[in-house]
Symmetry: C2
Subunit: 239 residues, 2 copies
């Protein structure tokens, strides 16, 4: 089998910094975790909050702390620091090679989607962001990995897209229309969802938007691990 | 301008875990750092060492510590822990958006390559791994970013490829032959170098090999940040 991760991310229109932070970390017992946080408001303050939360979570995961405990610790740290005045959403998606499962941890009112073939399930149990109170509990879902499994996670900028014009995005429908194509790469899926949202916002995103797509496929190709990152550099003066 | 990062990574033949660890982290003042470490020997012990070093370095970078200081701190921590009995190479490549420069930090006898058009420079000043003694100094090189700049960094598995058969790899020549193609994507460059090394080792790599290629290009396309990760899963039982 092969595991693919794809991310597509834009800033709110006319802001130079995204309040969303996403990082990938190796798990000490094998596997990877992807950690995505969205700090309240936008710009530099939000970035500092989401970076602090992601930093805390990946530091704990790297020590072997379980995902749920890491999310609770980050929430307590944020609550202690900001006294409940600043909140932050968190999603962790972990491939755990010890158990052969994927573990989804969610402190985010935005749902996530789990797709197997034509079946698309929306996981939308009530979930609150970090930092809102003491003892914030994450919603944790764990299931065995299998070829064809696709998972879509996003920050609320995606669901808010189009609201300004009274045409909010139907994320489930958008996922279905992409998955009807022949076995799309998760980067195509993430890119399509993001492009759809940006077009609903008339190319001026009303919020930072991050889309994360994870996919397990039957093995094709070599045994090389690969990673590609693309970072547009606006505002850098060319010599 | 646009910044692209590409990584290609294989394990030593018949080992399930690579002693090389690579992670990407956002810098608190803007930009990214890529951190690559190669722990002595191979397998689980080497992995624990390289993970510890990368963890230490990215934790410090995330706090705003400068790259050279982070490398020295990781070396001191490794020396204190292992009393000089275990060493680890380290490379840090940082895009610093505050200064508009790229900062290359090296504690690795293996050289690195900086390419501008047809000019390919090998940076091979003597450099020793972390953990060898107290007061290990990194070699630091910093220069302004510009379109067309390509940087290639690797662990010593690449330079050792083919030695078993008395046909060691000439990395500089291999880079030149790929760059003669029309403006290759850094993933093509990293993949080609890795494939060349693996073929010299008769498809049974004698060591873990990691190749990192960084490239600045004149801007083409949208303002979306993207990341793709591909992880082959051997030994996972399919249901």
């Amino acid at each position: 089998m092969e595991f693919q991760i794809a991310v597509a991310k834009v800033n709110k229109y006319a802001t130079s910094e995204s309040g969303d932070t996403l990082e990938v970390v190796e798990r000490p017992n094998g596997g990877l975790s992807v950690v995505l946080a969205d700090g309240q408001t936008s710009g530099r303050g939000a970035k500092a909050v989401s970076q602090m939360v992601v930093r805390k979570v990946i530091g704990l995961l790297a020590e072997g702390v379980r995902d749920g405990a890491a999310a609770r610790a980050a929430s307590d740290a944020l609550f202690t620091d900001k006294q409940g005045k600043v909140i932050c959403t968190l999603n962790i998606a972990s491939l755990d090679l010890l158990s052969g499962t994927i573990v989804l941890t969610r402190n985010n009112p935005a749902p996530l989607f789990v797709c197997r073939g034509e079946q698309i399930d929306q996981l939308d149990a009530e979930s609150i962001p970090l930092g809102t109170s003491r003892d914030v509990r994450p919603i944790i879902t764990e299931f065995p990995i299998e070829p064809g499994l696709t998972i879509v996670i996003y920050t609320d900028g995606l669901t808010h897209a189009g609201e300004r014009r009274g045409q909010p995005m139907n994320v489930g429908e958008a996922i279905r229309s992409v998955l009807e194509d022949q076995d799309p790469h998760p980067q195509s899926l993430a890119d399509s969802l993001l492009a759809h949202a940006v077009s609903l916002d008339e190319n001026r995103p009303a919020d930072d938007i991050s889309v994360l797509a994870l996919k397990f496929t039957a093995r094709v190709g070599d045994n090389v691990r690969r990673m590609t990152v693309r970072l547009p550099l606006d505002g850098i003066t060319q010599p």
